[in-house]
Assembly symmetry: C2
């Protein structure tokens, strides 16, 4: 954990933007930069909690998604769509989860193009452990107040809808 800076670097950047005549967009710039930095902090906390379980956030999300699937299995293309990552990111995550014994790949019974990812017993167990750890260490002490969380859900939900994430 590095030493706190004496001043907020993003507030400083916002002032620099204003000073250079870009006042109109200084506040959105600061908001966007703050989102970048907040994501970085949260990801770091999440990875720290998952590391002892041999997981990363990308791998954990895959396991969690499979855990909620009724059959414990999904086509890789479906996982890509729901996790909103590129198919090659799914290939990467599944390669490592398969190597760790947490998932298996099986061919689709009727569609030769499609590979199903299926949770194994040890995958299900580690996903449950990871969820418990994240619930208590990260989500349960998020650093946001109740009304902050509501605001974030509202603001970022509308943003994601406008960005075409969902109908």
């Amino acid at each position: 954990m590095p030493t706190p800076l004496p001043r907020d670097p993003i507030a400083d950047a916002q002032r620099n933007w204003e000073r250079h005549g870009w006042g109109d967009v200084a506040a959105p710039m600061a908001a966007i930069t703050a989102i970048m930095r907040t994501q970085q902090i949260l990801l770091s906390r999440i990875e720290e909690v998952l590391k002892p379980l041999g997981l990363t956030f990308a791998r954990y999300e895959m396991l969690a998604l499979l855990g909620f699937a009724r059959t414990g299995a999904l086509p890789m293309s479906k996982a890509s769509a729901l996790l909103q990552v590129h198919p090659t990111s799914v290939t990467n995550a599944v390669d490592r989860l398969e190597a760790a014994g947490f998932v298996t790949r099986t061919p689709h019974p009727t569609d030769g193009r499609t590979t199903l990812i299926e949770l194994t017993d040890s995958g299900r167990a580690v996903a449950e452990k990871a969820t418990a750890a994240l619930n208590s260490e990260v989500f349960g002490r998020s650093g946001f107040t109740g009304s902050d969380v509501e605001d974030l859900i509202r603001i970022l939900g509308e943003f994601r809808r406008e960005a075409g994430d969902f109908a």
Copy 2:
């Protein structure tokens, strides 16, 4: 741009969390996941704008920081602290900017440990072009309303302070 999903996957995940008895942390989980996804969308937009200039966001931030420095130069350790990235990330970015002719590395006049990064004329020119493009294509059409931006700055500023980013 993939096809919009029929429903918000993060709202679905929140309902799954509630259904599994983790209702207390479902909303913070959704807010955090929304931050992750929003960052991904914004980063993708930024990279798309910067790509024609031969820049990435990491490289651009370095150039912008140098642009605001009074002398157009900074020690690498200072850049690491202000950009809030690991020193090895600064090494990586500076390697590429140096190869592109946008910065130069010079030894510190009095401290043998320290390397100064200095903006070149072409680095300054590309940074100005990039800032103009980001201002009009990303920050000027951020996808957030004015009051959203204020809320984000407030909420994420407090979060970053509590996380120890600044005093």
